[in-house]
């Protein structure tokens, strides 16, 4: 490690990919949080009726996830999209936005790395996208059941 009080080192600007990543992260986090809070207020306020009545939740939250799905009839994977008109399911939109944010950031920096002809990191980011998209796709649910 080099401490350099007299060296000619200059503090480099963050790389282009770091700036892009940071900008998307900042905007996306704010937007996702807003969606999360709005969805939850609509749910709590009863403005959008939930699929599982709010007063019955204590019956279910001690169940395992698989038992909960079986008891409520909620679908695995992306099946909730068809039920998004219900207050409790509507909340999943904000949560999915938070989960998708990093993926958007990786998608945005891949062209930056390609333009810089940074082969190793382009491959690493492409592989990371495959991993995250696989997790987000819901395909692993089908594989596990």
């Amino acid at each position: 490690m080099e401490l350099t009080p007299r060296s000619p080192l200059t503090l480099p600007e963050p790389t282009r990919e770091q700036i892009v990543f940071a900008a998307i992260l900042r905007a996306g986090t704010g937007l996702s949080m807003l969606a999360l809070v709005l969805g939850f207020l609509l749910y709590l306020g009863g403005l959008v009726p939930p699929l599982v009545p709010i007063g019955e939740l204590p019956r279910y939250w001690g169940f395992s996830a698989s038992h909960y799905l079986a008891a409520t009839g909620l679908p695995r994977g992306w099946g909730w999209m068809g039920l998004v008109g219900h207050g409790d399911i509507l909340n999943l939109v904000g949560i999915a936005m938070l989960g998708g944010l990093t993926i958007v950031c990786y998608l945005a920096i891949l062209p930056v790395l390609l333009r810089k002809r940074d082969g190793a990191y382009s491959v690493i980011v492409a592989l990371e996208l495959i991993v995250l998209l696989l997790a987000a796709s819901g395909l692993l649910v089908a594989a596990g059941h």
Binding site: A22, N91, L92, Y121, V131
Partner: protein, 287 residues
């Protein structure tokens, strides 16, 4: 749980919000990740199933990491060249960990989680930290990937140039870290920082900043598995995330006047208590 909980539905979510707000304050002042303390505490003392708590723990850690990420990246305190290869390993293993965690019965998971939480407490108490580890030359992999950087160390008022070594050994450790993060839903900052700092030789501040960035990717991967398996219950996730966010903002203000060392002692005590509770709950000795 086989019978209906007689408590009104809003009681536990309200208590959860208040507790996570306190956790948010304490974790900022104590310099810890929220997910690490959230999962043992909530699964130990709330009526929610461990599946829902782990998913909420991942979302809490993810939200915190996403919020802190932009500033860390802009200040070069989270370094993408260091983070990206590690993130690839931790995210892939976190998915495997999450699948294993959701397939295992609850009791052995509680016992294992209790044991790990107690181990984390010892890591927090006794792990060394090196502000500026000595790395004379990077290893072949880190040189090939160009993992090196410069950041401004405000406490010294000068620039610090850094590089890393033992990259392969660290990546092997990150496989285990990702597995545990996915399996137990705990943020992995407590493990990321020592490996980045002591094994790879990144300066402590770069290790801490890069660890936060890593959490954003690792927890995203694991959270999607829990999400698709129906373990994300908004009534648990949203109060937890909001409480932690509000608490963290209060914590930043409290930080100016608090005594972090005392707070850290309290956090370690809470971790020990929650770990023992979980361990005994898993053994059926304290239900």
């Amino acid at each position: 749980m086989t019978a209906a909980d007689p408590t009104a539905w809003w009681v536990w979510p309200t208590v959860l919000f208040l507790v996570t707000t306190m956790l948010g304050i304490v974790t900022v002042v104590g310099g810890l990740g929220g997910g690490t303390i959230f999962v043992p505490l909530v699964s130990g003392f709330f009526p929610f199933h461990l599946d829902f708590v782990r998913a909420a723990g991942l979302m809490v850690a993810l939200s915190g990491a996403l919020s802190a990420g932009p500033d860390l990246l802009k200040k070069n305190l989270a370094d993408l060249r260091l983070a990206l290869p590690v993130a690839l390993v931790t995210s892939a293993s976190a998915i495997v960990g999450a699948k294993i965690g959701l397939a295992l019965p609850t009791q052995p998971l509680q016992i294992a989680l209790g044991g790990i939480v107690i181990a984390i407490m010892f890591v927090m108490l006794f792990a060394r930290r090196a502000d500026f580890p000595e790395v004379s030359a990077g290893d072949r992999l880190s040189r090939a990937l160009g993992i090196t950087g410069v950041y401004h160390e405000a406490s010294l008022g000068r620039l610090v140039e850094w590089r890393v070594h033992r990259t392969w050994a660290a990546l092997a450790l990150f496989v285990l870290i990702g597995l545990m993060a996915g399996m137990f839903g705990i943020g992995a900052g407590w493990a990321n920082v020592p490996v980045l700092n002591l094994v790879m030789g990144a300066p402590l501040k770069v290790a801490a900043g890069t660890s936060v960035f890593l959490l954003a990717t690792t927890d995203t991967a694991a959270a999607w598995v829990y999400f698709h398996e129906g373990a994300v219950l908004p009534m648990i996730v949203v109060p937890s995330v909001m409480g932690m966010m509000i608490g963290a903002r209060i914590g930043v203000r409290v930080l100016a006047v608090a005594r972090p060392r005392s707070i850290r002692v309290v956090v370690v005590g809470v971790l020990l208590f929650a770990g023992v509770r979980l361990f005994l709950k898993g053994l059926g000795l304290w239900n």
